[in-house]
Symmetry: C2
C-alpha cells in the first residue's frame, strides 16, 4: 500500500484515497475592492497549470472576500452613537470602532478592558464582530484608520465564487470561507467557518454502527469547522499569508450547505 | 512549481514544503489494556515499509491510549454517591456514570436533561468529563456496562509514546492526543487536543509584521488544536475509525509543549 523513500521520510502512493492534502495556492495578488476573486483564483490555477477535480474544496480567508467586496471602512467617516461611547468607556477601545462593532452585531455578550464579545448578525459569537485591522490598508488617509468588516453574506459570497469556478473547471467543488476565532475556555485562535457553499457544515453520524455494532447516539461532526481549522494552520497569519488553500481528500460527500447548520440555536445555548 | 495531471485533478510536486498532508495509518489492531501502543504503531509503520522524518507529527485518538492504559470501567463495580444521585435526578443519566464523571472533574458548570458539562481535572471544559461508551467493550459481563475514561495524564502518555517512537525512528517528531469536543456556541464536535508532547500547543505570532508592516498585536494561534481538528476529520467516528494519523508539513518548529498552554486560566474565563 505504501512505498519507501530513500530519504527516510514517508511517501504515500498516488491515489491513496484516505489522505487529506491541503496546499496553499501561490502567487495570488493583494486584493482590492472590486476585484473579481473567482477570475484571480482561476488565473492563479491556470498560470500554475493546475486544474480542480470533483470533490475538491477551496478554503478562502475572509479577508480577501471582504476586501474584494469593498468592506473597508475609514474610521474618520464614522459617527459614534451614545451607546458606542458607553462601550468605549468600558473597553477602552475607539468609540468609532465600537459603533461599527455594534452595527454588525445582534447583541453584546461580554465586555471587559480591551475586549468585547458579541453575537454577530450572522449568528456566531465573536470578539469585535470580526472587524479587523491587520493586513488592511485603504486608498486614502492614514492607513491606521482603515478597518475591515466581515462580508455582508459569506454563504452568498461562497456560492458566487463556487459557481464561477465550477463553471470554468467543469467540476463539482465546495467552498468555505474562514476567519480566526477565539474560544470560551481555550487560548489561541482557531480557523472557523463563517460561510460555505456546496459542502456540508455538519455531518450526522448518528445511527451509524461503531466498532462493536452499537449505534452512535450523539455524534454530529462539525466537518466544515474541522476543515477550516486545518486550512488555517497553513494559511499563516502574518506576512507570509496565503489566503486560498486547495483541499484534496475531504472524506464526506459534497451537498448543499450553509453556515446556519453550525450555529447553536439560542435555546440550546447554556453559556450566553 | 506544479505539474499537471492528465486526469484533470491537481498534482503538487514532491517536496512542496507548503503542503500539509494527513494520512491515517492502516491496519492497527483493536487495542486492549496493557498493549504497547508504541510497539504496535512501529510495527504498523514497518509492515508498510514506512519511516518517519524530522518534523512529522503523529495524531492519536484518545480512545486507543485510554484502552491501552486500562481506563475501562464496568459500571456494575461503581457505587454512586449521594451527589452523583442528585445529578442523576437532574440529567436523567445513570448515577454510576455520574459518579465516574464527578470523580474525573474539578467542578460542574452546567446541567440539563441528558447533559452535564464539567471542568475536567485536566483543566478543559467538556461534556461527561470525556467518558465514552462508543467503540468500547470489556473482558466480561454485559458490553453495555463498560465505559472508557480519559487517560490519567495525556501529556505524559504522549511523551512516553513520542520517546519510544523517536528512539526507534531516530528522528524528532511531535505527538498529539485528541478527543472530540462540543463547543459553547456552535453545533457539531471538533477534534481537540487533550495532551501533547514535543510540539507547540500555542504559537505566538504577536509582534510579527503583517502584509503592511503593522505589528500584529493579538494573534496567538492554537496550532495543536487546528491540527487536532484536521486529523479528526479523517479519523472517522464510526466503524471505519483509524485512530492514528501521520502528519507531514506542520508549519511551525517543534519544541517542548503541554496541554496547559491551551487552557484558558479561570481568571480570563468570561463564560463559566
Amino acid at each position: 500500500m505504501f512505498t519507501h523513500r530513500e530519504s527516510g521520510s514517508l511517501e504515500y502512493p498516488k491515489g491513496n484515497d484516505m489522505a487529506l492534502t491541503l496546499t496553499p495556492l501561490p502567487s495570488l495578488p493583494i486584493i482590492s475592492p472590486g476585484d473579481d476573486l473567482a477570475a484571480l483564483i482561476l488565473d492563479t490555477l491556470e498560470q500554475n497549470h493546475l486544474s480542480l477535480a470533483d470533490g475538491d474544496i477551496l478554503v478562502i480567508a475572509q479577508k480577501i472576500i471582504s476586501k474584494a467586496e469593498g468592506r473597508l471602512v475609514n474610521l474618520t467617516t464614522v459617527q459614534p452613537s451614545d451607546r458606542a461611547k458607553e462601550y468605549a468607556e468600558i473597553t477602552g477601545k475607539d468609540p468609532r470602532l465600537l459603533e461599527l462593532i455594534l452595527s454588525e452585531s445582534k447583541s453584546v455578550l461580554r465586555t471587559r478592558e480591551n475586549l468585547i464579545i458579541v453575537e454577530h448578525r450572522l449568528g456566531f459569537i465573536s470578539a469585535n464582530a470580526g472587524i479587523d485591522h491587520s493586513n488592511v490598508s485603504g486608498p486614502w488617509g492614514n492607513p491606521e484608520d482603515w478597518v475591515l468588516l466581515l462580508p455582508e453574506n459569506p454563504d452568498f459570497s461562497a456560492e458566487n465564487l463556487r459557481k464561477a469556478i465550477e463553471k470554468a473547471c467543469g467540476c463539482r467543488i465546495g467552498v468555505v470561507i474562514i476567519d480566526s476565532h477565539g474560544r470560551a475556555w481555550r487560548l489561541g485562535t482557531i480557523g472557523t467557518t463563517i460561510g460555505l457553499s456546496g459542502m456540508p457544515g455538519l455531518v450526522d453520524l448518528r445511527g451509524q454502527p461503531d466498532l462493536f455494532d452499537y449505534r452512535l447516539r450523539m455524534t454530529q461532526v462539525a466537518a466544515a469547522d474541522e476543515l477550516a481549522a486545518a486550512a488555517s494552520l497553513i494559511m499563516g497569519q502574518a506576512k507570509e499569508g496565503t489566503p486560498v488553500v486547495h483541499v484534496q481528500g475531504f472524506p464526506y460527500p459534497l451537498r448543499e450547505g450553509s453556515l446556519q447548520e453550525l450555529i447553536r440555536p439560542e435555546e440550546m445555548d447554556l453559556f450566553r
